[in-house]
Amino acid sequence: MAIIDNVKSRSYIIQGVIVAIFVVFFIRLFYLQIIDDTYKQIADDRGIRKEQVDPDRGQIFDRKGRLIVYNEPSYKLMVVPSQVIDIDTVRFCEILGVDKPFFIKKMKEAKNFSRVRESVFLSQMSAEEFGSIEEYLYEFKGFYAALSPVRKYTYPAAAHLLGYVAEVDSNDIKKSVGYYRNADVIGKSGVEKSYEKLLRGEKGYRNIVIDRFGREVGLLNNGSEDIAPVAGKNLTLTIDIELQAYAEKLLANKRGALVAIEPSTGEILALVSTPAYDPNMLVGSARNKNFAKLALNKENPLNNRALSGYYPPGSTFKPVMAALGMDVGSLTADQGYNCPGGYVMSGHKVDCHNHPYASNVELGIGHSCNAYFCYTFKYFMEAHNTPVEGMQDFNDKLAMWGIGTKTGIDIPNERNGNVPDPEDYDKVYGKGRWKASNCVTLGIGQDKLIVTPLQSANSMAIIANGGYFYTPHVLKYAEDADTVLNKFLVRRETGISDSIFPYIQHGMAGAVNYGTARIAQIDSVQVCGKTGTAENPHGKSHSWFSCFAPEKNPQIAVAIIVENGGWGATYAAPIASLITEMYINGKISEKRKALEQRMMDAVLIDVPQPKPEVPADSAKQVQQVQAALLPKKQ
């Protein structure tokens, strides 16, 4: 059978192919191992170590060009276990200031990684620490130092806003699809996190030729195949670091938050959360100790209350409520409501304080009348066909104000706040079995209404602008990367006519001139403000104040909460007005110095503000560094 023979002959073809491939391998190996010298020359008992060169992380400046964050040289001690021969362990530990168990543990870790490749033995030594061991290092074979810059902060302020950097964890490595490696640094919170990609730059690589003992001999091809690192972009932030530091001083030893916005642009001028900490605490060799200390502190200083603190807005919500009422037409500018010491419902009363009759919106806001805004809310709801529709509209309108939803600020971990929707009341009262009178206290910022200090400040910016805002943001510009800002240049409308805002602005001016917020008056500047007192089921009420100034062409809008501060006028209003004064006038008038001192001295927490384990650099040193670094800025 011819066909079978033919098929059988294929066996020889298969064997031929196999032999041919092996012959190709033999030829290739003959070439590689005998003829070709290139690899032998490099490989003459040597290898190449591809070493990562870290780029300088971008520096950060404030809106006035003051340096806030820079990099300081720091050192890490590397070890190659196979080269550690005959060293005096006791002396080594003494010089390094570590104990023997630490030495044994680190050496074991390093050996487990690799006997012949370098591991980090001790990281983040400052230049001084390194200086003290440098001269002895030659005695200890197998150890050498490598440069690795650390973040430094010129002001002990803005820790929450700036965030911190730390070594990547396994999750970061996985998510980055091959960019990060062990011991790389990544922004973990704040601006460091949101602008990580701009700040980090691009890694470089060096190909180092090493001999068989792992010693460096030189660079491969004189470094022609190395890749130079690209430094990260410098960022300029919208914050005024002096104002920020001043605000932190005023809020020291209190629990609370403050946000100051430039209404015409949405630029954040200051963003404070207290208790705060010195950002220099989370840097260098003391980092881990300090981080644990902060994480365990019961006042939770790592939490950024300005973006994630949940508070009922209380009376500071009244101007917003007035705007909503006037928008649907249920409230007119000259509407007056009688206040018999509160808003009376069947069997229940919402108390109010003693004040003159509020015959129009301006006086309602000026006197902060509870009854007035309970009515406003009630009639707002009744302007709709059903309570469900009314509540839905309440939700939708507030969403346009950035309340109950994230404002979109460029700092991570912002929270939504809460505006109750119709379903929430369906759950409590049964479907269709509730109406406006079940939730009138929403009109005075209570019930289930929750805002963050940022949302509160943003509401002030909206009122100051007359019905629109720009997404609050902290990045003013980034070196060579203008496009990131485009989303912050879009004007966001609330959909409410600008014609109603003068009444509200005037009412808030009234609150400062003759109402509950007289303590916030500033010489020569008309402040428009609103106090608030958020009831706190766990203790003393929280003190709220939100304001903007001046009334015409506002330059700053501020919202502040001081937890357990009591009335709005007790702590919140004075602090906010001091910040406003400082920002607009650049100084505090003599007659308010006493008030300023009182605010700074007030202590409202049991646990004092955390102090760093290692004292932060003295102000003088900081100035020196600043002077040295500033000219380098392009």
Partner: protein, 476 residues
């Protein structure tokens, strides 16, 4: 007892001898890689070589117990084993542990293994079973498709598990299909579609197009010699014209430039012109291969691009690229440089056992698994690699020799499967360490560190030895 001793007599002595030789080489090489002058002892079961020794011992126990099986066991249970394998493959895909981006490892307790390793045996048995069933029947389209599917289904699941290396090894079964008399163009076509996709992903369309072109030239030139034998003058005219065309192609296209597509088209027109000149010649058939060539070329140049840009999502492409080792280019290149350097530094006779300085200083990544060939190259030089590869070549040729002496198609097909697996495994692994083939991570059988690999390949070999011992029987 009587039967067992007779089996031991019938077992192929040369094959089993070569098997033992490879095991010993493997063990010594793994020891050389994990060798640490301060702490290493040969009998230390907590170090890699110690664990490898345990696995080899287990493999031998399993292997020799396989020799006690009745050889009909393998024909009877081929289908069931295959079905179970496919089931486990699917299970693996669903619950697998992610190792280096591939989801091809199954974890049982603290023991991880790769089902794809064991699936080779069962797939080979199934293919052998099926091809032996249809022996003597006319090969209908349906029969052929089933044969291709037997290979294609496990291969497809393995590709989905992001384990391209193993999938390529399964692809080697086309050798078997070819040996069993399937038409060449069919086998090549199936092979090419798969290879074209993989290689276009790795190298981009252009080089693959060049490769295809060279293949078709070789084919055409090969045919034209036949033509010259039969009709001298016309054959020579054709060959001259055709060679001129290739020359024009090489000069005009400069091999890899962008206007290549235009040049290829020009060349095709030229081929057809040539074809018209000689088309009345009955000994020369060019029509089908050229059509296939055009189809493949189109697929490579436009199809792959279309699939990767339009059909697949970005993250899917990225995954494919990662598993093919494209997106991590710098690292892969570094690995190959280190690997070539290590092998190259061995010279003629090497640096001596346990004296491989680059091996000792851990210069090559994955050096106890995928890149273990480097250690042989460094410590034993060209002499060592030559002898080692010779042992392996002898082993594979011996298996083919065994295959050809079988009376039953089942045994022959199975033996060819075994030979194909070993051949492709070595081709990819060694090829990658000496920089002839892109880095695709698969182990070097019996040499690389890894329990499931040694066990699986041992089972593969011992089943072969068992059925070969009964070579006088007709197994169905």
């Amino acid at each position: 007892m009587r039967e067992k001793s007779s089996i031991m007599q019938n077992v192929d002595q040369l094959a089993i001898g070569l098997y033992f030789a490879l095991l010993v080489i493997g063990l010594l090489t793994v020891f050389a890689v994990s060798y640490d002058p301060d702490t290493s002892r040969f009998f230390n079961f907590s170090q890699t070589h110690g664990k490898q020794m345990v696995w080899m011992f287990i493999s031998l126990i399993v292997g020799f117990s396989i020799l006690t099986f009745d050889s009909t066991f393998f024909t009877k249970f081929a289908i069931i084993l295959y079905a179970v394998t496919i089931g486990i493959f699917i299970l693996t895909f669903l619950v697998a542990v992610d190792i280096n981006g591939a989801r091809s490892w199954l974890q049982v307790g603290s023991f991880q293994f790769q089902p794809a390793e064991f699936g080779k045996t069962t797939t080979a048995l199934m293919l052998a079973k099926y091809l032996s069933i249809i022996t003597g029947q006319a090969r209908s389209f349906k029969n052929k498709m089933i044969a291709y599917l037997i290979i294609g289904v496990p291969m497809g699941i393995i590709v989905l598990q992001s384990d391209v290396g193993s999938a390529l090894v399964y692809g080697s079964l086309v050798f078997v299909i070819y040996r069993e008399g399937f038409p060449v163009y069919e086998v090549l076509f199936v092979l090419f579609i798969g290879l074209c996709f993989v290689f276009s992903m790795i190298f981009g369309g252009d080089p693959v197009a060049v490769f295809l072109s060279i293949t078709i030239w070789v084919w055409v030139i090969f045919n034209s010699f036949k033509l010259i034998r039969k009709e001298k003058i016309k054959g020579i005219i054709f060959l001259v014209l055709f060679s001129t065309g290739i020359l024009l192609f090489l000069l005009g296209g400069e091999l890899l430039t962008l206007n290549m597509i235009a040049v290829v088209t020009g060349l095709l027109i030229f081929i057809f012109a040539a074809y018209y000149i000689v088309r009345k010649l009955k000994y020369f058939k060019i029509w089908w291969p050229v059509l296939i060539y055009i189809a493949l070329l189109g697929f490579v140049i436009f199809g792959v691009e279309y699939i990767t840009t339009s059909l697949l999502e970005d993250y899917q492409v990225q995954r494919i690229e990662t598993l093919l080792g494209i997106s991590d280019d710098a690292d892969a290149e570094y690995n190959v440089t280190q690997s070539k350097m290590t092998i190259g530094s061995g010279g003629v006779i090497g640096k001596g056992y346990l004296n491989g300085t680059l091996t000792q200083s851990e210069q090559v990544p994955e050096q106890s698994t995928d890149f273990i060939f480097c250690t042989i190259g460094e410590e034993f030089g060209f002499l060592g690699t030559f002898i080692f590869l010779l042992v392996y070549l002898l082993f594979i040729l011996r298996i083919i020799f065994i295959a050809e002496r079988q009376r039953s198609p089942f045994s022959r097909v199975y033996a060819y499967c075994v030979a194909s697996f070993f051949f492709l495994q070595i081709m990819i692994n060694v090829g990658m360490t000496i920089g002839l083939i892109p880095v695709i991570g698969i182990p070097l059988p019996f040499i690389s560190y890894g329990g499931s690999s040694v066990l699986a390949f041992s089972i593969l070999v011992f089943i072969l030895l068992r059925i070969d011992a009964d070579r006088l029987l007709i197994l169905r």
